[in-house]
């Protein structure tokens, strides 16, 4: 009798642990979207994060346009050095080689949208561009045009 109860208890404990592990793993992968307002510069994700070259402002504008047309993801870098990969902007879900996004490369913007965090990436669905200050980061005054 005692052996039967022990088996049932052990089975219940194992089931509960398995369910907890499964739930934790799922939560870690697929976060619920969070509404955010982000202010920063539109950048080329590859050049900025890998530091293959200087990748901010006017000095990098031409390269950023090449990369955006080439289909490399476009992001916003904010003042805390956080990178947000743009997946949708103003209802337009074309996020690879989108001419609209090419046209705002290097701009300083403030956007409102939904943030999805998954597996080490901040993905941003931009619902509204609240402000577009154009290109204000005049890095060509201190840096050569990239790539050199």
């Amino acid at each position: 009798m005692a052996s039967w109860r022990l088996k049932v208890t052990l089975t219940a404990v194992i089931f509960a642990i398995t369910a907890m592990i499964g739930a934790t793993g799922q939560a870690a992968r697929a976060s619920e979207p969070e509404r955010v307002e982000v202010t920063g510069e539109i950048i080329d994700t590859w050049c900025y994060t890998t530091e293959v070259m200087y990748a901010l402002g006017t000095a990098h504008h031409r390269c950023a346009v090449w990369c955006a047309v080439g289909g490399i993801p476009v992001s916003i870098i904010d003042e805390n050095d956080t990178v947000y990969v743009i997946l949708k902007i103003d209802g337009d879900s074309h996020n690879a080689s989108n001419p609209t996004v090419v046209d705002i490369q290097t701009h300083q913007v403030t956007v409102d949208g939904l943030l999805y965090k998954r597996d080490g990436v901040n993905y941003l669905i931009v619902e509204t561009v609240l402000a577009d200050g154009g290109i204000v980061n005049l890095t060509h005054e201190d840096h050569p045009i990239q790539p050199q």
Binding site: G70, L87, A96, G120, I145
Partner: protein, 178 residues
Amino acid sequence: MKRFFPISLFSGVLLLGLSLASVVHAANSWRIPGEELARFDAKVVDVLCELTGDCPANCGGGKRQLGVLRPDGTLVLAVKSQNFFAGAVPDLLPHCGETITVDGLLIKDEHMTMFALQYIKTKGGKWQKADRRGDDFVADNPGKKGNQWFRHHPVIDAHLKKNGVLGLPGVDPLPAKQ
């Protein structure tokens, strides 16, 4: 002994050949901080679809960023291919929804985790270099060089003609400081 030697020599050459064949398509280091050489099986997915459930046909037909979904559920954003200044969408798109083997660099940066795709292989297929952007450009622009696609692309030409290299119409680049 005389018989054994040629057989062992042949076997050695065969093994060497097979080893070299597998090395040929191994990912190369690009000396990027945080990079790891990585080869794994994963399913090609539309990233926006994976996150939000907004799923057009054929992974968006080339207009959406693609990633690969590993068997443990990890979503990896494919950011770069082997073409200069180009992403991996043209290389992954033909395999939308398919599980393939990818070979490249898994980069874990302080900002994000991403993948630079160098080679792909379908089940039972051959290794292919991830450089379709250049091939597609040549197909659309006969006579142009695929590896210089960015110097002849009409959208880029129009943008730079209108806005200049700096993105500031009418402002010329300053000479680099010595």
